[in-house]
Amino acid sequence: MIELRNITKTFNLENKSIHAVNNLTLTIPEGSIFGVIGESGAGKSTLVRCINLLERPSNGEVVHHDVDFMRLKPDELLKVRKKIGMIFQQFNLFTSRTVYENVAFPLKGMKTEDVRKKVVELLTLVGIEEKINAYPSQLSGGQKQRVAIARALANDPDVLLCDEATSALDPQTTQQILSLLNDLNRKLGITIILITHEMAVIKAICTHVAVMDGGNLVETGKVVEVFSEPKHPTTKSFVKSTHQAERFIELLRNPQGTFKISPEDDILRIDFVGSQTADPLISHISRRYQVDTNIVYANIDIIQDVPLGTLVVILSGSVEGRRSAIEALRNSVKVEVISHG
């Protein structure tokens, strides 16, 4: 478990000071894949550097395994850093060193044959053992990031910090690197802290998420919870970015739009999580209350193996029937009435 307590990082520029991180408190559970999302300039990169003290917080505590990093002597801090791996957007491999030498870099002081064994083991783990003698310039972006991951894992860390680790990669490679991180999390039990500006990354592998805006933590929790019920406007806009329900509803509302809605119809947005399945429910209310339900939009996201669904339906029938149907729906799923007929 990593606890960040009242972390503040202030940068003093010539004529003003900037609070990159503002009195932020956060608990990162052991073994989780913890995503930190925010727009550029939200302070997330600074925050992640505050964990291994690459940026020393102006104030606050960074506690891991009951040790406050802020109180460590310089040489103790260097030892602690060996147990916290870090990977970067630009990979940061040493261009003058081969893949082998890059991964061996943090293994200084070990016997050559032990280093060799460890490097081969790590490269096999990340699936790039055949490039052991290549130079970074001969590798693709995804391969470079694999090498960087192997290097970050060299000292068997229990935490891996990822600073926009997939932002320089194409979508397909991003998926591969994310699933590698997911595997590592399961196999090694390593806690992964992942900084990103893409909701898709959070959706793909994170168990927990923290949303940052202007140096502040605006929302945090399990991804499924934050996703299904976003509270803060910033979170909402991130959630919105991943599916098109909102855009679709705007289209419905547009009188000149493609959809001709009878003034007697209700438009509903239904959100459901996990085992609440909407389909039998809808056919059930159709029969029971004599209303026609026309599903005009449907989307299901799978987050941490939990399905998260959104439906937009048009309800037509008698006024009484429609009202009862909506009430019945509200008993089991989240219903938002977009327009009343």
């Binding site: 850093r81 791996g85 970067f88 040493f94 060193r97 870099f105 943090p106 060299a154």
Partner: protein
């Protein structure tokens, strides 16, 4: 054939022994002052880079002082440096004349130049690499040796080549104020006594020397760039 060539260089043949000694002196001046300029230049260059406000061991006073000293010595024309340093040279080397007398001003002339080359080479190392090394728990000393210097070997090789070549020029200039080497040889005979053949052949030797240094430099750069 050989006689045909020799016909054009009568003076050189006459002073051939002195010519060989001059080449040797040039090489000694180049080697000794090159070595010290490299060591001092590298040391001061590293100090200058790491003590920068955003460097790995920030120290504003050391940085500022060193920066000004380097600028000061870089702005003095070498010919003035040669004469101005004579008292200091006497203290260090015991003489202000000849090869020995030339070495101190040569080191003073070439070191600041090389410091700037080192400064430029090390400053071009991607900050991300330093950050990566820090995240792996590397000490500042390890970052200097295993990241900064190691990563900038090609640029350092380039800087060394440029510095050595300008040092060859400076050794020749040293001849003007009683130093030794090819410069003095050319002034003594080629210039003062109008023996042009001596001038031409000496220039040819210097040209070969420069090409050799450049060739080796290019080879090192090529071999160390990945």
């Amino acid at each position: 054939m050989v006689d045909g060539v020799l016909k054009y260089i009568p003076n050189l043949i006459e002073y051939f022994d002195e010519f060989l000694i001059s080449i040797q002196e040039t090489l000694i001046m180049l080697g000794v002052s090159g070595f010290f300029s490299f060591v001092f230049g590298l040391t001061f260059g590293v100090v200058l880079v790491v003590t920068r406000p955003k460097g790995i061991l920030p120290h504003p006073i050391v940085h500022e002082v060193l920066d000004r000293i380097v600028n000061f010595f870089r702005s003095i024309p070498f010919i003035i440096l040669l004469t101005a340093l004579i008292p200091l040279t006497r203290i260090i080397m015991g003489t202000g004349l000849g090869v020995k007398g030339a070495i101190v001003p040569l080191v003073f002339g070439a070191t600041p130049f090389f410091v700037r080359q080192v400064d430029m080479a090390l400053s071009n190392v991607d900050h991300g690499l330093i950050e990566a090394a820090q995240s792996m728990g590397a000490t500042p000393f390890e970052i200097i040796t295993r990241v900064l210097l190691r990563e900038s070997i090609p640029s350092l090789a380039r800087g060394t080549t440029i510095t050595l070549i300008s040092l060859i020029g400076l050794t020749a200039m040293g001849g003007a104020v009683g130093g030794g080497g090819l410069g003095a040889f050319v002034i003594r005979y080629g210039h003062n006594r109008f023996m042009s053949d001596i001038t031409y052949v000496s220039v040819l030797v210097i040209l070969i020397l420069v090409s050799l240094v450049q060739g080796i430099g290019n080879y090192v750069v090529k071999k160390t760039t990945h």
